[in-house]
Symmetry: D2
Subunit: 410 residues, 4 copies
């Protein structure tokens, strides 16, 4: 702790010397808002095995309790995304009140368009009109839930696609999607937004109906200004420059939100920042540039979407939130004036070193100081682990039958 | 049918003109042996959903019945791989006799080293000695089953790996694997073989203990001559030249077998030959070259490993067998003398055109003729679909509770 | 030859039985138009080495002479794309007349925006206004050339990008591009089209300004209806479903043309169809579906773009043209009525087999018949190789100094 | 500077508290040895363009002068790799003495097996016996040069491969390579080592004869204990876990050396650590673990291999050296005792956080302190840029004709 304070002082002095307004940086860090997903607190797995974890949440209320722990120790995770029907309840107003009692808000509503035998050949793109209707009705139900709980975001991950060449017609499917989305969008009251996710592949293995950001933004354009694109960090081909896509979406006014996680290979859903933390920083570098650009209007939902299968859920979620905080903190410390000048003059080494210089900073002391000012412990993971919560829920939830949640393969 | 015969005559005349011994080609095609997997007849899915199919097999005997259909119509699928415990029975001798009564043999035994909560951090590579022991004991049980059913192949797919940097020590895990495999190999009587599969990623998402053919062949070298490498066509990074790996394994005397399927992205487990049939042909081009090379000793288990989730299982398996037959037929028709001469003289265009020329052949008439000589219908898929078997099992198996088999995510 | 005729008869009978109007198929094949690139006849190489080939063309007129050979033997390659300044001449009208004297037209004009030291940090996106001006002026010069030679296509491959994180600002570069393209488009008279290519990476290795079809179509939308997207088959991440992108571009009315080649890894520029001929067929399957759809207006420039470095240039180009012909022929033979019905009813196996059934056809006899009706030899490659042209130019061009053309790394 | 010292004090205190022997860490950092490549100081490019830089080195002596600058400011780059014939001179003893006069040693000798028209179809694997002989003789010449200059490393990058299916026989080529390498190895006196590089693809685009570490280690095994594998960080398929390969090569006793650089897509040859610095750290994490493991014998040549085309060469090389230093420094600060305990107990979060904790450190103050103790300026890049050397050589070398060096595409 003494070390943190000394390190913070050195950092603060150095930033002051550079003319950085550290209070503005701290203010931004305190205002950060990272939504965690209800399904991140439940058991999850791969197609080969769902590993059951003692202590994992079984009900939506348990998931909210666990999410409240993440917010309690980080201070920046005040909302929780729901997935329907995994989080289906009889009374959403009551659920919303329960969340509020834990200091939480209910966030994006995620319809499930993949976990029904009817969706074998697609949902909103299915060749069957009645199945498209069913899928659309489910989405409309989610709009109603969003209204009830006061959420402004419908997160649409469309798992539709085909797995054999010839299986279905690409253009027919595109038109079916345009039609169903049109009806969905029409049912969404202002300011509710449709966040259209895309994904390179899986669960379809030959073609995905929304397989890249082109597919998503083209659909969004046809719908209207509240149709936006959602970027999941694991949903691109290897090598894709995600930070550039983020910048382009900002420029087109269509960046609606993120599903944060990390990948080494495919949609691995690993802890965000755990494979290439520099990439996460470079993404935040674009986000901060957008925030600070008066010509840009940003309205971005920052959401974590992870199914880390073999780490304890809450500890892993705290890791994720902290990794995102660090990326944001470093991005806030980029010397943008020097950067712009170096870029304009074609000084590639200086431009790169300017970005790197912020990345190389150890921002833990800064975040510790911010947390202290927020009345939190300087190290959220350590504080959570010392709290005994995990041991308590392991005991309480042992023997409970696992309920209808998460990626259960069933 | 008339068309097939006329087309065959044209093809046969053309081959005769080139000096091809068509009876030898037919003999090879009749002797082809493609093992199908018991799990290919049961429900399967992705991590998001197991789509339940009416008519899918629920018990091992049902799987064998379905496999017998594939053999009945193709004539080249006389054995079935088992997966333990999905195919666990009380009396393996009885199961073997049952298979024989259907005209089948039991083939490779596949231990399951991934579907147990204990294996969360690994099986044969686990940091826990007792879990390694458990995994090894399961493998030894499979050796006993193999002895009982007269199988000479243990197919070892090791799902072990880690999903976070730092999670475990790479070299420690490698040594644990060497030690457990050593004990396993010692328990395997001659001529039983250990087929060591490798896979780029999944279910581990940061590193896999046997992630490439280097890892597998290095382990095989330490064990002995009956330790071989198993090539699954979906287990490589995109772009990998699999036919070259096959040629190199032949050259090193370590090609033990295949798991046939196809991929567009990752381990998609699609119908073999359905994404890039030319690649499958080029692999067979190496296999035929090996078969015809007196300096080479080939002992290869040709096995299908697919979990096509949305096509009816038996029809899909017949498609797969036919695709493999076509690849083999075309490879048998490569003019190898011309090819060698073109290669030796550096005539790249001629060498390529020689290979292409065989690939461009429509070999359906040839395979129809072969089937006719084997007493089979010329078109296996059509014959199967006309047989009423599918409708029969859909009726019989409807309402049956799905049993403990397949990738059920549970 | 006798064999070809017999095989054709069998094929024709079989198609007639299916009700196929073979004369319509032949008519389409005779009308096929595949543009070859001037630079495909000159020496080319990798960054490591340009392999000098005896007989390669050194001047634009030599390139046209070689292209005329390809058209002479295939009958479907009547135009040649030019690359400026590689094909810079004093009198383009004279060049156009020379082409006409060889039976050729001059096709797409390709500006060069990468081979000048000034373009180190970009051309149309450069941070320097004067360099952007220079690049734009070069493009405007190409528009003038296109007017002179009667070409309606400007093929814009923008090599711009950055190779270090932070090097330049993504959004600034995007705006510079919008501005320069706006001026370019304004200078292009109707019906001249701007074909906007995209490429995943290379020569920039961190980000490319037009890196995917999203980037290209968004620019095209801002320009107008004659701004279209150009699809180069080697410019996508591995695994990308190109046929789906083609279908989507058709649907959006923005498919402007192709650069045909093939890849196994990156932008390998290999002979089109040489790595995955099934993929090429599936792309043509979409193109034929578009052609036959009355709701769709297709205006597509089919162009080859290859730099096969180690095969003789003309022979290799003939291989390419033939591969494209085969893909088109097979796609024309898909039973679209059956396919649509199978797709609509969700019969995945039947839909796939319908497509496969056309692909499995050996269309060489059909193409031989088409060529015969066009007064050509049945086997273009063999006829060209027997002509002595290659030996003649090897002798004539030996010792000639290689001129300023092609990918010379200089 | 004051800041650096204060920051160092905080870091040193914190490490002392943890019981770290900081003098041992500093000693290791002072002993680090990073070889830079002669070709890294000359112009280079892509296949599209070699960008000429004012001030780039034209002769081998100029390259050595520039390399001496890198060593002068970093203190850890005392040797230079040569590439023959780019660095061919009449008198290698004189060159060696010249290097010594600059405070440098001559390092690994790199034969060139790709830049000769004869190598169009391969060098050591060519179907032509006389071309194989020529390539082998060139390698033997390099062995003689190595003897003369006192170098113990022959770095063998074999660019051989094929670009068309069928072009040549995989197994024949493998045997040719075995034979030629056997003769080469026999000519190399103890303790000279053969470092066998591998590369996924390029310049061959269908198959590479040494395409992965399996191919290299299998060749090394056949040769003897001084045949080792060389790992180039840009030579793997995307997603490959390089740190695992490094660990496995250490375990097999075959890790011979590195070619450091970084990639986002393919063999991009970017500044090492510039795309994923965490990966570089994880590789060093394995190297430090090996260094500290008494059971392991490490003899690794750490070499940079970059062709950064658009950054000034010397500044870019200093960036690279510093990035490698930072990776090593952080890896030295991993708490290995805690890590091993967490791994052994299966505490995934703790194991990961232990590794991350070292990575998050800002090690610039530590390296500044080390440099100060070595008599160097704390910031090598700033010191070099302030020295005026770049401006001086830009003036001196302007107008000089560029010589026969580097990737000139010619």
């Amino acid at each position: 702790m003494a070390t943190f304070k000394a390190a913070y002082q050195v950092l603060a002095d150095s930033l002051a010397e550079r003319g950085v307004d550290i209070s503005a940086v701290k203010k931004a860090l305190k205002a950060q808002w990272i939504e965690t997903p209800s399904w991140g607190y439940a058991d999850s797995g791969t197609r080969f095995k769902v590993f059951r974890q003692t202590g994992a949440a079984h009900t939506t209320k348990e998931k909210l309790q666990d999410a409240a722990q993440v917010h309690k120790y980080t201070g920046v995770a005040p909302s929780v995304a729901l997935h329907i029907p995994w989080d289906k309840v009889d009374d959403y107003a009551e659920l919303s009140a329960y969340a509020a009692s834990l200091g939480l808000k209910l966030g994006a509503i995620n319809p499930n368009l993949f976990q029904d035998n009817d969706y074998m050949l697609g949902s909103l793109c299915s060749p069957s009109a009645s199945i498209r209707r069913k899928a659309l009705d489910h989405c409309l139900e989610c709009v109603e839930i969003a209204k009830t709980v006061g959420s402004n975001n419908i997160s649409l991950w469309l798992a539709d696609g085909i797995s054999s060449p010839g299986q279905d017609d690409f253009r027919d499917r595109k038109h079916r999607l345009q039609d169903t989305l049109h009806e969905l969008y029409a049912a969404m009251p202002n300011p509710m937004r449709l966040l259209i996710e895309y994904k390179f592949f899986e669960p379809a293995f030959y073609a995905t109906d929304l397989g890249d950001w082109a597919s998503s933004i083209l659909q969004a354009q046809k719908l209207g200004p509240r149709a936006m694109v959602l970027v999941d960090l694991g949903h691109h081909p290897l090598g894709t420059n995600i930070e550039q896509i983020v910048a382009f979406l900002i420029d087109e006014g269509r960046l609606g939100g993120f599903h944060f996680n990390n990948k080494k290979f495919a949609d691995d859903d690993l802890t965000v920042g755990s494979i290439n933390p520099y990439e996460l920083f470079l993404i935040y570098n674009e986000l901060v540039a957008g925030e600070q650009d008066p010509a840009v209007n940003m309205d971005v939902a920052y959401m974590i979407d992870e199914s880390v299968n073999i780490k304890p859920k809450i500890a892993s979620m705290i890791q994720s939130v902290v990794n995102v905080q660090e990326a944001y903190a470093r991005a806030l410390l980029v010397d943008r004036k020097t950067l712009k000048e170096a870029q304009a003059s074609g000084d590639v080494v200086k431009a790169e070193e300017t970005v790197l210089s912020a990345y190389r900073l150890d921002v833990r002391p800064l975040l510790a100081a911010v947390r202290e000012e927020m009345g939190l412990a300087p190290d959220p993971l350590a504080a959570y682990q010392a709290s005994g919560y995990y041991e308590k829920v392991c005991q309480e939830r042992a023997g409970t039958a696992a309920g209808g949640y998460g990626f259960d393969g069933a």
